[in-house]
């Protein structure tokens, strides 16, 4: 039973790491996307949206690091 629990936790950790890494890639794509869109369409909130996309990327990075460190 203990072995099974450990296997599940290790599997959970691997899944979390892979998932957060993929999410980090996704966040990078969002940053790129916002920059592309901002180049095509210019409006008042473009700067704010670009900043949000970078903040989101930083959070994604923190989550990825967190999944490595605390799991």
């Amino acid at each position: 039973m203990t072995d099974l629990a450990e296997i599940i936790l290790v599997a959970g950790k691997i899944m979390a790491m892979v998932g957060t890494l993929l999410y980090l890639v996704f966040a990078s794509v969002i940053v790129k996307q916002v920059r592309t869109m901002s180049a095509d369409v210019v409006d008042k909130f473009n700067g704010i949206l670009t900043t949000i996309s970078y903040i989101h990327w930083i959070f994604a990075l923190v989550l990825f690091v967190l999944s490595i460190v605390i799991l």
């Binding site: 979390a16 998932g19 996307q33 916002v34 409006d43 989550l63």
Partner: protein, 242 residues
Amino acid sequence: MPRASDLNDIAPDDVVTKKVEEEVAKPIEPEEKITRVSKSASGEYRQKVYELIKGATKTPLSALLARPKIFNFDSREENEEIILVLRRHWFTNLRWIGIFGLMLVAPMFFGWVPLLDYFPWNYRLVFVLAWYLISLAMAFEQFLSWYFNVFVITEERVIDIDFYNLLDKKISEAKIGMIQDVTALVEGVSQTMFNYGTVLIQTASEIPVIKIEKIPNPNLVLKVLQQMRGEEEQEEMEGRIR
């Protein structure tokens, strides 16, 4: 005979060269001054357009922007005046805003999921953080889709800028003069109540139909395009007279 004298001058094997008459620059005669039939006719059309869009807001987060000062787009020509910028009606955003709200409160009910209790606190922390981040990304994506998918009417053309999913985009444009027919559709209860719908623009250009969905006040767009077409026709007519 006059012909004989010519033959003496030109031997049969000689290459016959033809003198090219140099074009003498003729003085350009001043064009006849034709009084412009209606110099201000196109201006009148424009004035009507301005009157039509008078009440529209200029707030950047509006779905209908009239003559915005800050707005710009990549392929805009110098001094090209933007008449209208349209986004999807705000009512169409309620769905994803509702889903986002539900996603925010969902972790309160995670205690009901027995499987989560099995994992230690650090796993649950990462899971909850990931959940909030995914929720935020979903809402952000939806907002980006609303904010950057715009339909622009300028004094010369209409441009439909569409961004599909993450990295695909489509930009359709047609000259105002190429527009053949414009149809405004308001269908269903919500569209009738909140005055939004679809505008179909049939053109003589490569893209036969430009479809703009869920935009506010389609009748206004129809009227503006009618006036703009009138202005364009007037300009063409004046151009011909000149």
